[in-house]
Symmetry: C2
Subunit: 363 residues, 2 copies
Amino acid sequence: MGIEAGDLTHIATGAAFLGTGGGGDPYVGRLLAMNAVEQFGMPSIVDADALPDDAQVFTIAMLGVPTVLGEKAACGDEVDLAVKRLEQRLGRRADALVGIEIGGINSLLPVMAAARLGLPLVDADGMGRAFPELQMTTFNVGGLSCTPLAMTDDHLTSVIVDAGDAKSAEDLVRATSVQLGCSVALSSYPMSGRDLKRTAVKGTLTLARGIGQAIAEGRHAGDPVQALVNYLRATPYYSQCRVLFDGKVIDIRRETKLGFSIGHCKLAALDGSVSAMEISFQNEHLIARQDGRVKAVVPDLICLVDRETAEPIPVERVKYGQRLKVIATSAAPIMRTPEALAMFGPQAFGLDEPFVPLEDIDG
Amino acid sequence: MGIEAGDLTHIATGAAFLGTGGGGDPYVGRLLAMNAVEQFGMPSIVDADALPDDAQVFTIAMLGVPTVLGEKAACGDEVDLAVKRLEQRLGRRADALVGIEIGGINSLLPVMAAARLGLPLVDADGMGRAFPELQMTTFNVGGLSCTPLAMTDDHLTSVIVDAGDAKSAEDLVRATSVQLGCSVALSSYPMSGRDLKRTAVKGTLTLARGIGQAIAEGRHAGDPVQALVNYLRATPYYSQCRVLFDGKVIDIRRETKLGFSIGHCKLAALDGSVSAMEISFQNEHLIARQDGRVKAVVPDLICLVDRETAEPIPVERVKYGQRLKVIATSAAPIMRTPEALAMFGPQAFGLDEPFVPLEDIDG
């Protein structure tokens, strides 16, 4: 069933879950998208496999410090300009847009952009979750260049970058984004329809909506966490799914360092045992350890949800005493290849632990 | 008389003088230019007034920390790419290049670029001296936009910037240059021949050559400082000219801060009096005070030369015990208008003193 304007709230909830603690507040993305849809109408959401091979597709996203993104949002003109500048650089119009990540604010920002620009939006993204850095995409793993890219700010300053590799581009974009006020619109990874079909994580807007719907329906039925888990188990990517822990927050340490939110969160078990779970994050949750033993590790998804309402809780809203359930799911198969793990497996985040698929870890 | 390859050494010496302490080591610029001229031939140097009104002219320069520029120099490909990227952005080829400043390395870098690209080089620049920041040009004072601009590094990373004003562009370019290793090629201020004729400081390559020649001839004749002063007095811009002080360095403080070399240098008189002169700088010399009284102030030129050879001494080569003469000259009239002073007068550098033309200060 096609995605419609009425689905934006569910997508926002699903994107908060898939943001695995990071990705910025999808509430802001929802407001931006709703406002644009009211003004310009809902863009058509198209299947990746329906794209012509020679279509020209750009990603569109906001990049910066999540708290600033949440406060400044986007005025829209800078989003249009990012796409326009990239078109100008390539001497070719965009035929469609696609999200770079489905987690957080960047799940719905592309809806805003597509509505404003009258372009179709592809039901796909480059990770099936959120990640903190520009090179951490299946597009990059698949050999696509993230440049030329265009970044713009709310003063309509624009910067076009051509770099040798995605990590150099990330370093440059990060430093420039700080100079531009820690919140920029970014259009990158210009790609053909053929390349998108080969490298994207497909159907993720639909999956985000499904997650949001499952939680909403679960609330009516009385067990939203169970409803969420049931839904995830029926999906193609997140089917390996476990409630890792049921606890309350006894320790939270967050540090803003080098443009990232880095730290850990510790939960004590609610069942009366002495067991504890510790989750480390760099914007997104990276690893969950129970009493020192790894229970889930990136790129598999580790999500915190309110134990009663299943509301996904991002890192910046974790508070002492909160009662949460920790849910882990498998990442999409395309995210677990050796090439993909080299780009965004545990080692890419400085962790010593090897990647072990969730389903191979003792429950 | 046309400028030829044999003039590059004189231009380098003149550019060191006009660099007023900053602008990077023109020796490096000379090597780069000579090498390019050997390979590609000497570019034609054209008078500003001979340019067609509709010619498309770009500035070309290196930007960054002078010490890094001196060590890394430029490989050439990044200089070509900066011009090419700006051409691509504008959808129009460059008809000629012009220097942004005549002081330091950027006096001869344009010779290298013009030789490599087979373009004519205009005998002019945007200040008739050197200044530390991108907005401090007569082009900007004359209302020309410094963007779109293209910056490139030795890995052939390229960044194209469009900004609302030159100061925003400077802030962005400065931060980006740090990320790119503190040394980048920069092609900016795309302008028409008409605008160049209206806003440039004209004939400054010829003047730099004249300064170098006067010093060389003065060495043969036995009094290079006097020969230099005589030459300057006969020029259209630097005709107000004084030897402010004859002394030895008794104090030098340099700090590298925010990408600039900031500090002061103090000289004691050699005539046996207790008089002392203190010169403050931000890359370039800004103000000279004798016993607390202002003797010359930016944008007028304050230059240190060896008291015997008249060799211009840049800030980074000032040493304790050195015997130097301090020479001040007027800036070009176009540099002394109220609009120009707002852009690069004393207040633009945080000084409290008003601008007083050299000739109106008691000797």
